[in-house]
């Protein structure tokens, strides 16, 4: 009997280990988990695969909740408004390119801007092809940043100009770029075996396989709750706002991180950031863009918890220091009584996005004659 139990445990363990070693399978799980709450239910979702591996609360209630599982910050995320293309609108001959980050990723913005026929979104976090604007149109570029990402921005070090083969322009741009994690393995057998056997993500993969399922959420919440109550402990990625009403990204709070809103930033550093942004502007204008517009989304901590320590006002200082059109959000957001950011996520909520669209329209409209 003891032997049989041993053999059963062994087989299960080997099965789990083999699954965790299969990186392309793990990448698929990660992607399905991430998009699960963003897509509507379909019959495929009820299959065993979805129930066993995809159903998770890691993303459903906000990325920050998914990191700490504090039950008092478990808020369902409201869906974003979509701005589909309006085909009935007369053609304007204007195209808007947006190079942005997670704030605008996975949003439908084609019809968000009145004076543009199309909107092409390129995600700065992942490599995309060289941009070759359509010379028969008026091309505009909007560079969107989260405030926390401004500090280390350097055109030469981002995927923006690290070009693979495909050219991107309004004619050949058909689908928004979705990042496909690479699952390619080395070609030689020993290297291949080494990559699979000594995969550095094995523990992380096992965690995803064994403990990401939503049936573990109550245990995770209990653990998070007692640890926070007893010791004030939170995972290093998360901080709680001073008024305890929302979760914040710790990289925007803890002064040991470069992107902290409270790290002392010298004028010289601001100048360097501005120079980098101006260099990007010059580059995009040189390849055919009529105008380049800067739009920086404030950190939630800068809007709701700026008295926590000495706020460095990076956003306003950079906006003041550069030479191109700015879609300034800080004062607009600061003065708004309604909540603009999810309380359990590092990003804006639908109202925050909607406000940004309106402000951006107001900035863009006068530029177009």
């Amino acid at each position: 009997m003891r032997k049989i139990i041993g053999i059963i445990i062994l087989i299960i363990s080997l099965g789990v280990l083999l699954l965790a070693m299969n990186q392309s399978f793990m990448n698929k799980i990660k992607q399905d988990q991430y998009f699960d709450h963003l897509t509507a239910d379909n019959p495929g979702k009820h299959k065993l695969y979805y129930k066993a591996f995809v159903k998770t609360d890691r993303w459903r209630y906000g990325d920050l909740y998914g990191l700490c599982f504090l039950p008092q910050y478990k808020f369902a995320l409201e869906p974003f408004k979509t701005y589909p293309a309006n085909n009935k609108k007369p053609a304007t001959g204007n195209i808007l390119y947006i190079i942005g980050d997670s704030f605008l990723a996975d949003k439908t913005l084609a019809g968000a801007f009145d004076k543009f026929d199309n909107v092409i979104f390129l995600d700065r976090r992942f490599p995309f092809g060289p941009i070759k604007p359509d010379t028969t149109k008026n091309n505009y570029m909007l560079m969107e940043f989260a405030e926390r990402n401004l500090v280390d921005y350097d055109l030469t070090k981002t995927p923006e100009i690290q070009w693979p083969q495909k050219n991107i322009n309004a004619k050949n741009f058909d689908n928004p770029l979705v990042f496909q994690p690479s699952s390619s393995l080395p070609t030689s057998i020993p290297d291949r075996a080494g990559t699979i056997l000594f995969n550095k993500d094995l523990s992380r993969n096992l965690e995803i396989l064994l403990f990401y399922n939503k049936i573990f959420t109550p245990f995770k919440e209990f653990k998070a709750y007692i640890n926070y109550k007893l010791t004030g402990w939170l995972p290093k990625e998360v901080a709680v706002s001073s008024d305890k009403k929302r979760l914040l990204m710790n990289i925007t709070v803890d002064t040991s991180y470069r992107s902290s809103a409270f790290r002392n930033i010298s004028d010289n550093e601001v100048k360097t950031i501005s120079n980098n942004l101006n260099a990007a502007q010059n580059y995009y204008r040189s390849i055919g863009f009529k105008q380049v517009i800067l739009s920086v989304v404030p950190n939630p901590v800068s809007i709701y918890d700026d008295k926590r320590m000495n706020y460095n006002h990076l956003l306003q200082r950079v906006e003041k220091n550069n030479k191109f059109t700015v879609n300034s959000l800080f004062d607009r957001y600061k003065g708004d009584d309604k909540n603009l950011y999810y309380r359990s996520d590092g990003h804006w909520n639908p109202y925050g996005l909607d406000t940004w669209v309106k402000t951006t329209n107001a900035t863009l409209d006068p530029l177009i004659k």
């Binding site: 041993g6 523990s203 004030g232």
Partner: protein, 461 residues
């Protein structure tokens, strides 16, 4: 592979069950293959270094046994030079080069290029274990191991290869040869040890690390009280981190039916520094006693020479921990404390009673030495000591750890002391009690543990 990772949990289950399912003649192969995987998971290419020393020491053992007295010494020296050479190259070359470069830079002399590599994990541990084999064969206390696989397993046995306990061949080799039948008593005792070790690591050490690491990384922006607390907390962090590792190693080996030596015996209860070293990292301190201190003359030589020997042994012990002046100073401090203790004994200045005061002094002296061990640099260590004695009693590390977090840490440290006292005879508990305790500790680990896969501090040595 880290003991506090999910991968290890699965690895442990697969290795242990398969071990008992296999016939005895295949078990060494299985354990050796598992140990290879365990080690190679850190960096596969470093297995070549271990294999090189294994081959050298295996051959040296056989040659020493067969040779006459004159040649015996030669083979032993060859083995020791190879082991120390590997250790010196990988661990001390850059340290030496940096210091020589500093000197030559002052008169614009030539600079030695540094080597850019990661230190092979646990190098000092398995090198010392390998050396103890050839020395014991030379002394005639151990027959040369003819089975290359078993000898390789002696050096590479996965539970203890990266951070000890540093074993002796007489203790381990017979256990690797014999057939270990499944025994529920030892198996459950092993599980209990594993849980106790995991508790010390993830519940105590890693929790204290949340406070200690940022404070020691930035001593200039912390007050005396912050630094004093960080020093005391570090004493328990390193103890729980290292003894936690040893407990997991002992427990893992025990589930396979192999008994490893005890490495810690409640060291912070020591009443003097000599007693501390009989309780702290026992496998290393006995290694230095048997293979360095006694060959230097031990306590049989004149008193001034005893003092010199103590200083030499503890300076080497300090350097063994890391190629850095701070470790050397740490070792030297312990050496000096022992010299003072021995001198007082020699002069028959002995105070009877006052046990608490003796304990308090010993504990604080050990903590003082820990400052050198933990600080980023020697300069930082002196700064921290100076600042602690400057006496500002405000607590400024609220963002690192709220005050309630400090209370919690104090409580778990007290709990640790009580728990260790209660568990000191854990192997004698009934199986039911052991299993229940293991389960309870496991649940506590889940709910109170910090699973950031923080590396064990002693892995770097």
């Amino acid at each position: 592979m880290l003991f506090n990772s999910l991968l290890f949990l699965l690895f442990f289950i697969i290795v242990t069950i398969t071990y008992y399912l296999l016939p005895h003649r295949f078990r060494w192969m299985w354990l050796l293959a598992a140990s290879f995987y365990f080690y190679m998971y850190f960096k596969p290419v470093y297995i070549l270094i271990i294999l090189f020393t294994i081959i050298v020491d295996y051959c040296a053992g056989i040659l020493i046994e067969r040779a006459d007295q004159k040649h015996k010494k030669f083979y032993l020296l060859a083995s020791i030079v190879t082991n120390v050479g590997v250790l010196a190259y990988f661990k001390y070359f850059n340290f030496l080069a940096e210091n020589i470069n500093l000197l030559t830079a002052s008169f614009r002399g030539p600079q030695i290029p540094l080597i850019n590599f990661l230190l092979p994990i646990g190098l000092s541990f398995h090198t010392f274990q390998a050396m103890s084999y050839t020395i014991e064969v030379y002394r005639g206390n151990q027959k040369a191991e003819k089975h290359f696989g078993i000898y390789s397993l002696y050096v590479m046995f996965y539970p203890q290869m990266v951070a000890g306990p540093i074993e002796r061949p007489q203790h381990i080799l017979p256990q690797l040869h014999r057939e270990n039948k499944f025994n529920s008593n030892t198996f459950i005792a092993g599980l209990l040890f594993i849980m106790m070790g995991l508790f010390k690591k993830v519940v105590i050490a890693d929790r204290l690390g949340l406070y200690v690491d940022p404070v020691f990384s930035d001593p200039h922006n912390h007050t005396s009280l912050d630094l004093l607390l960080a020093t005391y907390f570090f004493a328990f962090q390193i103890y729980c981190d290292f003894s936690g590792y040893s407990d997991i190693a002992i427990g893992t080996a025990l589930t396979l039916g192999i008994v490893l030596m005890k490495n810690f015996n409640m060291p912070y209860l020591a009443h003097n520094v000599s007693e501390f070293w009989k309780r702290w990292h026992i496998s290393l301190s006995t290694w230095f006693r048997d293979y360095v201190y006694i060959p230097l003359g031990g306590s049989r030589v004149a008193f001034p020479l005893i003092c010199v020997n103590l200083l030499v042994v503890f300076t080497i012990s300090g350097l063994w921990h890391g190629a850095n002046w701070k470790y050397l100073i740490w070792g030297l401090i312990h050496g000096l404390l022992l010299v003072i203790y021995q001198s007082l004994k020699k002069l028959k200045i002995e105070v009877k009673g006052f046990t608490f005061i003796k304990w308090l002094i010993t504990f604080n002296l050990v903590c003082l030495a820990w400052i050198f061990f933990r600080a980023n640099t020697v300069a930082d260590a002196f700064y921290i000591i100076g600042k602690i004695f400057s006496g500002s009693l405000t607590y400024s590390a609220n963002y690192t750890m709220p005050v309630k977090g400090l209370y919690y840490c104090a409580i778990i440290i007290l709990g640790l002391m009580g728990g260790e006292w209660y568990m000191r005879n854990a192997t004698a508990f009934s199986n039911r009690k052991k299993l229940l305790l293991a389960l309870g500790i496991g649940v506590a680990c889940y709910f109170f543990g910090i699973f950031t896969e923080a590396q064990f501090i002693y892995f770097q040595f």
